[in-house]
């Protein structure tokens, strides 16, 4: 219990220490990363809007669109007016969606250039956080206000932050579907998937930030990860083929990926095995480790270090090895302790067993069950001098006459274990 308390205390201190280190630049501090749109207010009981009241195309379009600016103005241009109600009807009255034609995600100019510049390939948070390229379109309230929106005079200040230079609402970097993603929003919306199932936290959100991004793990909570992988990454990602690897795999990944794999079975099962499984398009754990041993499996480890390591945590060995591995090797390769001098003529192993603690002998018995044949003939007989036959204490004489050449403790009975 004491150890567990120390463990908990140490980990708590570690977490606290990490918390105190505030990054100089964080998501919260990056201009444009968070657009202060209060979904919480719009979805509140007082306002009583539904998702589809504003995102009118969510059930019809493959890529959900931003609300047309004029739809916002139904309320915000006249704060005293009733809520829009059926957005589609309001749109019809205003001349339809074409009236507010705006670039949908992916339809924006030079989409391929954006595709080429997508930093998600270099971004460790590909599935979790927005890319720099995707961030760019989001204007800060101040910046947007400086850009003189098309209908500047009619735009309340509270809306100015959501308009681009063309005066139209812009997508948030964190909610816009990546153009390389094969994703049909309407299929999900019409299929009975509740909006909040994927867009978690919207009801309480005051800003559109990274916390509202839909990570790939959300997709995998419904879509079986193995089935997705079997279909190939290309099944969803246009830019992810078998040669692609996550940004986290850059740099020193070989050295540090072991720490990630220690993040529990759920991580290995859902994250690693998403791409790495036998029969899959990328190298499996087993295939790689057949040629690249774990980092600590140095030559010293192979020769000697694995023994002490196994004494700590034998289950770690079991990840790859069964017991017959040990036996198969040690039947041919003797333990490192069995170096020259261990046997004849110095016979250091005698001292290791008989002068050490009981554990020494137990170590021998690991392989030498029931002793070894050599032991039966290994004893040095006492000289054929009459006094030796009756002497009860060897050290009575041998403390001064021909003292033993090896360390000695005990009495004659101990000597006679070998000198029979």
């Amino acid at each position: 219990m004491r150890h567990l308390i120390m463990l908990a205390a140490g980990t708590g201190a570690l977490v606290a220490a990490c918390s105190l280190v505030t990054p100089a630049v964080s998501f919260q501090a990056v201009p444009g990363r968070d657009a202060e749109f209060p979904h919480a207010i719009h979805l509140s009981v007082d306002v009583n809007l539904g998702c589809l009241d504003c995102h009118v195309d969510a059930t019809a379009a493959a890529v959900a669109t931003m609300p047309p600016f004029q739809l916002c103005m139904l309320c915000h241009a006249n704060p005293g007016a009733e809520r829009p109600g059926d957005g589609a009807d309001e749109l019809d009255e205003l001349g339809g969606l074409d009236e507010f034609d705006q670039p949908a995600p992916g339809d924006e100019p030079d989409a391929q250039a954006e595709m080429d510049e997508l930093d998600f390939l270099d971004d460790p948070g590909i599935f979790d956080e927005p890319t720099e390229a995707a961030t760019d379109p989001v204007e800060t309230p101040v910046a947007a206000a400086d850009q003189e929106p098309a209908e500047e005079a009619a735009i309340p200040e509270v809306l100015a932050g959501f308009l681009g230079a063309d005066g139209l609402p812009r997508w948030s970097a964190v909610t816009r579907a990546r153009i390389e993603l094969a994703f049909d929003h309407s299929v999900h919306a019409r299929g009975g998937v509740d909006c909040s199932s994927c867009h978690t936290g919207l009801e309480e959100s005051q800003a559109v930030g990274p916390g509202l991004a839909v990570p790939m793990t959300s997709c995998l909570s419904c879509h079986d990860s193995r089935a997705v992988a079997d279909g190939g990454c290309l099944g969803c990602h246009a830019g992810v083929d078998e040669s692609w690897q996550p940004p986290s795999h850059d740099g020193n990944w070989t050295l540090v990926h072991g720490a990630h794999s220690r993040m529990g079975a759920s991580v290995a099962a859902q994250d690693c095995s998403l791409c790495h499984f036998e029969g899959g398009p990328t190298i499996s754990c087993a295939e790689c480790h057949l040629s690249v041993q774990p980092a600590d499996h140095s030559l010293f480890f192979r020769n000697e270090g694995h023994g002490p390591m196994a004494l700590f945590d034998r289950s770690r060995c079991q990840a790859c090895h069964q017991e017959d591995t040990c036996l198969e090797c040690h039947l041919s390769v003797m333990p490192r302790s069995h170096a020259p001098g261990f046997g004849e003529p110095r016979n250091q192993h005698c001292l290791g067993c008989h002068l050490g603690s009981g554990s020494r002998m137990r170590e021998c018995s690991v392989c030498h069950l029931g002793g070894t044949p050599s032991h039966a003939a290994a004893g040095t007989p006492p000289p054929s001098v009459p006094a030796h036959a009756t002497a009860t204490s060897c050290m009575t004489c041998h403390a001064t006459v021909k003292p033993p050449r090896h360390p000695f403790t005990g009495d004659g009975a101990y000597c006679r274990k070998c000198h029979r």
Binding site: L7, L14, P23, A24, A62, D107, Q112, M115, D128, E180, A182, S197, C198, T200, P215, M216, T217, S218, S221, C222, D230, G231, L234, G235, A238, D250, G251, N252, A259, M263, G264, A265, S266, V267, A269, G279, P281, I283, S284, S291, A295, S298, F300, G305, L311, F312, R314, Q318, E323, D324, C326, L327, E328, C329, L331, S332, V333, H338, S359, R362
Partner: protein
């Protein structure tokens, strides 16, 4: 490190060279991709999503790795490793899929000096042949040949069973509706790192249920038998596992238990959480071995023939990772963890059943100190009071081009352990230089030179590996 017969060596060289030459030709898959790339930009995929691209049906990798090792004890060793992996078909699209993974080790300079006192021996040297080939995976999968049924025949790993099982045999899974899957398997266990022996058998059944979103429940029963190595051993293991993830997948929890021959063996609880932007990741696991583990069939055995019985214990593990964007260089990733194990009966602690703590930490600087470089530092400390192992490592990588990376690293380990005396200390240092370059879309080259020294011996290793993808 065994004698090699001359003609066989030449024949193998010719075969290997021939295969390499053939595979150096542009593969149809990559050629098609190259043509597509030359045709210009990918079409806009916004509305509606473009049809999904076909995933190539056939993949393979052949790697040849030459390794030379030398010791200051006037020992040297040269080996040629060959790795071949193949996979074809995609489940859900193709009726038949398959995979193969093979490893060959050829001791080029087998000198027949035996293994006593030698420091460059390998597991393969214990198998009495200078050329050792192991087929690690070889299976065929048949999908929907029988409605709602999938069959997999051959040498295959079973990752979802309570213990990892490599099986020569048959696996069948039947979908009972959209949320239930029934699984049965049987065959002979196979071991990656041993030559195997006769008299083994394994079989089991499992049921997997997806009760609601983000949840998965699984129950297993498996029976194994060993008949030759340690006598006739038969064991049955039952397991139950439940996983639940939140809708966004950022919080996951799991609980699992196993029963061996009717007695509770171990319990596991786990939780994992990651912040939305990935800047925080926390993992907590609790594991308890509930009963004394004595001799069992090999898959269930915790090395009891070597390390004697394993005594019940409780263990807690916590890992924390944090990623700082733009703090230093492009990013800074810090991770750390702590494990602690206590025996149920602390008085029973012994040489082979220890209470210990393990602490580890690592950090990676991306884009630091200059662009296109990264620096990683790691440390790991195991401590059981009398014995301890401390390791640390550093590695610096430079991405010279998009296809070429250089890395240089150094590691240090200190083993303080009970060998002949209670105060044995051995320091181990190793240094390495690596090159990884993609010569073409299908050809990769890896080169490595490393130097390792401890208090008794020094080793030098040079390796060159050519990997051909097709």
């Amino acid at each position: 490190m065994r004698p090699v017969s001359g003609p066989t060596r030449v024949a193998r060289c010719l075969i290997a060279t021939g295969i390499c030459s053939a595979l150096l030709l542009p593969s149809p898959v990559h050629a098609a991709q190259d043509v597509a790339a030359e045709q210009g930009p990918v079409e806009d995929r916004a509305l509606p999503p473009a049809p999904l691209r076909e995933f190539p049906s056939f993949h393979g990798r052949l790697s040849l790795r030459y390794q030379w090792r030398d010791s200051d004890r006037e020992q040297s060793d040269q080996d040629l490793f060959q790795y071949l992996s193949l996979d074809f078909g995609r489940a859900g699209r193709d009726a038949v899929t398959g995979a193969l993974l093979a490893r060959g080790v050829w001791d080029l300079d087998g000198d027949g000096l035996g293994t006593f006192g030698r420091s460059l021996t390998s597991l393969e040297d214990a198998r009495g042949s200078s050329y050792d080939v192991r087929l690690q995976t070889a299976w065929l999968g048949f999908h929907e040949l029988i409605p709602a049924t999938e069959l997999r025949v051959g040498r295959q790993p079973l990752f979802d069973t309570p213990i990892l099982l490599h099986l020569d045999g048959l696996l069948a899974s039947v979908a009972a509706g959209e949320r239930v899957e029934l699984i049965a398997y049987g065959g002979r266990p196979y071991h990656y790192w041993s030559a195997g022996h006769g008299g083994e058998a394994a079989g089991g059944v499992a049921a997997e249920v997806l009760p609601w979103r983000g949840a998965r429940a699984r129950v297993d029963w498996m029976h194994l038998r060993d008949a030759t190595l340690f006598g006739d051993r038969r064991d049955s293991l039952a397991g139950a596992r439940f996983d639940q993830a939140t809708a966004d997948g950022r919080l996951r929890g799991s609980a699992a238990a196993t029963w061996l021959d009717g007695e509770t063996r171990d319990l596991d609880l786990g939780g994992f959480w990651t912040e939305a932007d990935g800047s925080w990741t926390v993992d907590l696991q609790l594991h308890a071995l509930m009963s004394r583990q004595s001799a069992n069939t090999l898959e269930f055995d915790s090395f009891t023939a070597i390390l004697l019985d394993e005594l019940p214990y409780r263990e807690g593990r916590m890992s924390v990772a944090r990623r700082f964007a733009d703090l230093v260089g492009d990013a800074l990733v810090v991770n750390a963890g702590a494990y602690g194990r206590v025996l149920r009966d602390p008085a029973a602690a012994s040489e082979f059943n220890r209470e210990y703590q393990r602490y580890w930490a690592g950090t990676t600087f991306e884009g630091f100190p200059v662009a296109d470089t990264s620096l990683a530092l790691t440390a790991d400390w195991w401590d059981s009071g009398t014995d301890s192992i401390l390791t640390s490592a550093a590695e610096f990588e430079w991405r010279a081009t998009s296809a070429t990376r250089f890395s240089v690293g150094s590691g240090w380990s200190l083993y303080r352990y009970d060998f002949f005396s209670r105060f044995e200390r051995t320091g181990v240092r190793d240094h390495y230089l690596r090159l990884h370059t993609e010569l073409s879309a299908a050809l990769r080259l890896r080169a490595e030179v490393s130097y390792e020294e401890d208090d008794l011996e020094t080793w030098t290793t040079a390796a060159l590996q050519l990997e051909i993808s097709f």
